[in-house]
Symmetry: C2
Subunit: 237 residues, 2 copies
C-alpha cells in the first residue's frame, strides 16, 4: 500500500482546542504539559487504504487518531488476515512490545492522525507518572477488549459474531457521536469477515438473515438496528 507523500504541517490547532482530547491519552495532561506536547505532535493525513505503519516495520512514532477509522491487522505468511481491531478517534496507536510493529494499521476512508516521534515522546512521558498511569489504563482496556474478542472468535456462532460486532460497534459510535438509530459501517464486508474470523460470504448471508428476521435494515455503508433488543440478546447469549 502506498505511503502519503504529503508532509505533516505543524498541528495548526492548539491541543487545548482538540476535539478528541477528552477521549485520548491527552485527557491526563494539564495546560503546561499540553503546551509542551504541541511542539511534539504533527497532524498527518492519510487517504483511504493508505498504511500508517506496517507489521515488521521499525517503530518510529506513536499516533493519536484524530479523524476517521483505521483497521489493525496481522497477516499470516500465506496471506490470511486477522483484523484485531478497528480504531476510532481518540485511540492511541503504535505501542509495541519490541522495536518492530507486530501489526499493520491502515486507513478506512480519509484519516487524520497526530504523530509523535518515538524518542521525544518517550522522553516526554518518562517522568510523568499520571501520564504513565493513563497509558496503562488504555493498554489494560485494550487488553480487556482483546480478551472479549477471543471469546467471540473461539466460542461464538456466525450469527452471534455478527450481532456482537454490530452492537459493539454501535456502542463505540454512540460513545463518540451520541445515540443514533443507524450504525455507520465504513469498513467493507471483507474487513468485517476478517475481524470476525469468517468469510465474506458468511458475513453477507448472516446480514441477509438478520434483515429477513427484521433485526436490521441493510443500507449501503450502514445498517439500521430495527430490533436492538433482539440483537443485544444474540450478542449476550
Amino acid at each position: 500500500m502506498k505511503i502519503s507523500l504529503v508532509a505533516g504541517e505543524p498541528s495548526g490547532q492548539v491541543c487545548t482546542d482538540c476535539a478528541i482530547r477528552q477521549f485520548s491519552l491527552c485527557a491526563a495532561l494539564d495546560k503546561a504539559e499540553l503546551r509542551e506536547l504541541e511542539h511534539l505532535g504533527r497532524h498527518i493525513h492519510f487517504a483511504s487504504c493508505e498504511t500508517v505503519f506496517a507489521q515488521e516495520e521499525m517503530t518510529s512514532s506513536f499516533y493519536n487518531l484524530m479523524e476517521g477509522v483505521m483497521r489493525l491487522y496481522k497477516l499470516l505468511p500465506d496471506g490470511r488476515r486477522q483484523i484485531v481491531g478497528f480504531s476510532l478517534p481518540g485511540d492511541f496507536l503504535g505501542l509495541a512490545a519490541s522495536a518492530r510493529h507486530s501489526l499493520s494499521a491502515d486507513a478506512i476512508g480519509a484519516v487524520t492522525v497526530c504523530r509523535f516521534s518515538k524518542v521525544p515522546f518517550a522522553r516526554f512521558i518518562e517522568d510523568k507518572p499520571h501520564l504513565l498511569r493513563r497509558i496503562n489504563e488504555l493498554a489494560v482496556r485494550e487488553l480487556s477488549q482483546a480478551q472479549d474478542h477471543m471469546v467471540l472468535l473461539g466460542r461464538r456462532s456466525a450469527e452471534e459474531k455478527v450481532a456482537t460486532f454490530l452492537i459493539g460497534w454501535r456502542d463505540r459510535l454512540v460513545q463518540l457521536n451520541g445515540p443514533s438509530t443507524t450504525v455507520a459501517l465504513p469498513m467493507s464486508r471483507q474487513d468485517i469477515a476478517d475481524f470476525l474470523g469468517l468469510t465474506i460470504e458468511t458475513v453477507s448471508r448472516t446480514f441477509t438473515k438478520l434483515e429477513r428476521d427484521r433485526v436490521i435494515g441493510i443500507m449501503p455503508g450502514s445498517v439500521s438496528l430495527l430490533d436492538p433488543a433482539r440483537a443485544e440478546a444474540m450478542a449476550a447469549a
Copy 2:
C-alpha cells in the same frame, strides 16, 4: 535454577532471594524498594482447581505467580468457556480495566502466588515511573500475545492451532527451565480445547494424528517433540 511447575515450600519471604524475580514485575525494583515491597506481599497457596479470583468479583488484589500454572478464562452465560491464557511463574495477574475482574483465574495443580492488596500496592507504584513503565511493558506484551492468539482463533485450522500451541508452550517452558525434549502439559485436553477454540474430541484427534505422523510422542501429562521443525512449520504456515 529450575522453576517448578508444582508448588513446594516457599523459599522464604525475602524478595532478594525470590527465584522468579528476574521474570517478574519486580525485576524493575532496586534493593530499597524490594525491602519495602516485602511488607506488602504475602505468599498464598492454592490447591488444584481452586479459584484465585473470578469474573465479576471486585478486584481487591494483584498477584505475582510464584510456582505452578494457572488458567485465565471467560465464561459465556450459557457456560461456553474461552481460556484466554495460561500463566506461568513470573506472570503478573489482576490488572483490570474496571473495578471488577473481567475474567477468572484458577490453579492447574498446586500454585503459590505472592499477593498484594490493591490499595497499598497502588500507593507503592503510583510515583515510581520505572515501575509504571515496567507494568506498561508487561501489559503491552500481553496485548501482543492476545493479538497473536486472535489470529490463531480466527484464521487457523485445528492442526495449525495444536501445533502453534505446542510450540508456543514449549518456548515458554524453555524460557523458564531451559531446553528440554519433552513438553510438560499440566492442563487437561478440555483446557487445551477451550484455549484453542476447539472441542476436546478435535484436540484429541489432532494429537493422535500428529503422533501417527511422527511429529510428537504422547505421554501422560506431556508430549515429546519428535520433529520440532515440522511442528514449527505448521505453527508458522
